[in-house]
């Protein structure tokens, strides 16, 4: 049983976390979308605090102390609230490319067909990530707390009475590369995770097929692996031990397959959205072969599958010599030294692309919207603009044959194409011949970032015009 002192400590911790959340909420921040998360977290804490206070009073009336299970449960809640809060902290650093936030939200709204806000946080770890805040609340059983605390404070967020607030997608950008706009093409992969969740039922069928295939090769390939991990206890029969190990391995296969499938699916979504530019950005973040783990497949497998998918899906695009070196890698798809990973890699390598194709085909690719000659001409004009240090969004505004969200990904594609093409040398020269191209890449990133901002402003301007809201000459 927890002592009254421990209960007191729990209540104090709840208060201090609540105050910290409110402090962060009241900071001077450019965008206030995360207020929804802060308000909802405060509601969770307050509800949990009330439960503890009530349990404490009840126990005191009975002359006893609060139940251990209740105490543990609330302490766990507190830890989870802290964890979710820690994701939504660090969203106000001036190093964040705020220019791209509204464009990202706008793209996400169109892609997922629902209103959501995209917020960027700087990740202390060197990776990209995505967290759907509303889903995180639902997962923790806090769904009913996903709400505005004070509607008066959120008038800019189009609150409609009785409606739950929109989702908040929290994108993590690696802190050291916050200013590397080109690398943010990896946001396409993170959006892929949202699609994976959205189409979870269809992906589940693929997962089951993969798991069956892996388990099928279990008897053949995993016997040695199994013997390696078995620890026989006194009194256990050989059959018991084997069965225990088999159950353990099968559970592990389920877990690994789920994690890997989500990653590979998201990679292929990114390949549809930004084409080989995804491979280029990926190489920046994951250097070398990248070992396989329980949640992520090896980088070799990921590269190999994306390459194969692109060769099949965008043959004209990747025949461009600019991308050639991204397809030159000697890395093989299957190469993990761990036997279990090796078996799963083989299955992924042999069947995953075909299995995922019908699901992937639902996502329209901006790179196939135009005919190859039209696409080549547009790319050429965009690169001409970059050559002359003019924003590449300008050619996208001529003619009206592309959806605005496609333009977002086309800009990412064009910027990477330029970066890898011999034309980049010209920019490097203009920027002072920096040997590691840092200045030239910064300028290219600035052109891209401004183009994304500009595109979004133009779209909103057009929207206003069509509604007759803009005061124009």
């Amino acid at each position: 049983m927890p002592s009254p002192w421990q209960v007191e400590c729990l209540l104090i911790r709840m208060d201090s976390l609540r105050n910290e959340i409110l402090r962060v909420k009241n900071k001077d921040r450019p965008y206030t979308e995360t207020d929804i998360v802060y308000d909802s977290l405060v509601s969770v804490i307050e509800s949990r605090r009330n439960l503890v206070v009530r349990a404490k009073k009840l126990a005191a009336a009975k002359g006893t102390v609060i139940d251990q299970a209740v105490f543990n449960h609330r302490a766990k809640d507190l830890e989870t609230v802290f964890q979710v809060f820690s994701y939504t902290d660090r969203v106000d650093s001036p190093r964040i490319p705020f220019e791209v936030l509204r464009s990202l939200s706008w793209v996400a709204n169109k892609l997922f067909g629902e209103q959501c806000y995209t917020v960027v946080r700087l990740e202390p770890k060197y990776n990209y990530g995505i967290l759907s805040c509303r889903r995180e609340f639902e997962k923790n059983g806090w769904g009913k707390y996903w709400q505005y605390a004070d509607e008066g404070q959120h008038d800019s967020l189009s609150i409609q009475n009785g409606q739950a607030p929109p989702n908040v997608l929290l994108l993590g950008f690696p802190s050291p590369d916050a200013g590397s706009t080109l690398v943010h093409a990896l946001a396409a992969h993170e959006f892929g995770h949202e699609f994976a969740f959205k189409w979870n039922n269809d992906i589940k069928d693929v997962r089951e097929a993969v798991v069956t295939a892996v388990k099928g090769s279990y008897n053949v390939d995993l016997q040695d692996y199994l013997w390696g991990i078995i620890t026989r206890r006194e009194g256990e029969s050989q059959d018991d031990v084997t069965e225990k190990a088999r159950r353990y391995i099968f559970a592990l296969i389920d877990k690994i397959t789920s994690g890997w499938l989500s990653e590979i699916f998201s990679d292929l979504v990114a390949a549809r959205l930004v084409g080989p530019a995804f491979l280029a950005a990926f190489d920046r973040i994951i250097i070398g072969h990248g070992k396989a783990g329980e949640t992520h497949p090896s980088a070799s497998l990921r590269r190999s599958l994306v390459r194969r998918y692109l060769k099949d899906f965008l043959p004209e695009v990747i025949s461009d010599p600019t991308w050639a070196h991204l397809f030159d890698g000697t890395s093989t798809a299957v190469g993990s030294s761990d036997e279990l990973y090796g078996v799963i890699e083989k299955v992924f390598d042999s069947m995953i692309i075909e299995a995922l194709k019908p699901i992937l085909n639902r996502i329209p690719s901006p790179l196939t919207r135009l005919s190859p000659p039209e696409f080549a001409e547009l790319l050429e004009t965009m690169e001409d603009h970059i050559d002359h240090l003019a924003t590449p969004s300008v050619p996208l505004t001529l003619g009206d044959h592309l959806p605005d969200t496609d333009k977002f990904w086309l800009l990412m594609f064009a910027a990477w194409h330029y970066r890898l093409s011999p034309r980049f040398e010209k920019l490097r020269e203009i920027c002072g011949d920096d040997p590691n191209s840092a200045k030239a890449e910064e300028v290219l990133g600035n052109l891209l970032l401004h183009a994304l901002l500009s595109l979004e402003l133009r779209a909103r301007w057009q929207d206003k015009l069509s509604k007759g809201g803009a005061n124009v000459a």
Partner: protein
């Protein structure tokens, strides 16, 4: 020679050769009154601001090669629809919302709009934009009035007056890499010229 609005619009056409093409992005043609006799192009306030901060030492020394003795800055991003208050006597660096690409035969002067000037906003220093420049333009703004002044991104706070430059036989001068392709307000680092270096060492 100062260029009129019609000529500027022609210069912005995709049909114009890059040697003469002016690019302004975003540019909203609907917002320009082609009948006007204006010889300038309005620019709008961008979202990024840099504020000079006080520090432990009471002075900053731009000529010092020690970065710790130079000015300390704080960056801010103010989204569209929000505002930034410029306090009396305060100086802030801002940017234009527009990205400009100047050909080598055009330069421009940055002039604050009188409607803002009469309310105390001064956009004064480093007012010339050189031929071949590219990027957003850093604006040095200060408030000379006795009350705070709200600045909103998107507001047309100034205008550019364009002049044609005689490029002679050398149209492709190099740009200054430090200020090429800038997106955020740049405070810049002081680099001493040879003459300055000599003069400053005199006793």
């Amino acid at each position: 020679m100062s260029l009129n609005l019609q000529t500027l619009i022609q210069r912005m056409s995709p049909m114009t050769h890059w040697d003469e093409r002016l690019v302004v992005e975003p540019f909203f043609p609907e917002s320009v009154d082609m009948e006007s006799s204006s010889n300038s192009l309005d620019f709008h306030l961008g979202n990024r601001f840099t504020i000079l901060r006080s520090r432990r030492s009471s002075q900053h020394d731009p000529l010092s090669q020690d970065p710790k003795r130079d000015v300390v800055v704080r960056e801010l991003f103010i989204p569209m629809g929000k505002e930034f208050t410029l306090n009396p006597g305060q100086i802030v660096l801002g940017t234009t919302l527009e990205w400009f690409r100047f050909p080598y035969d055009l330069m421009a002067y940055v002039i604050g709009r009188s409607i803002w000037g009469r309310r105390g906003l001064l956009i004064v220093t480093a007012s010339a934009v050189h031929p071949g420049s590219s990027g957003t333009i850093t604006l040095e703004m200060s408030n000379l009035s006795e009350v705070g002044l709200h600045l909103r991104p998107g507001a047309a706070i100034g205008q550019l007056f364009f002049n044609q430059v005689d490029v002679g036989s050398n149209p492709g001068q190099r740009r200054s890499p430090n200020f090429t392709g800038a997106l955020r307000p740049i405070i810049g680092t002081y680099s001493l010229s040879k003459v300055e270096d000599l003069l400053l060492k005199l006793e």
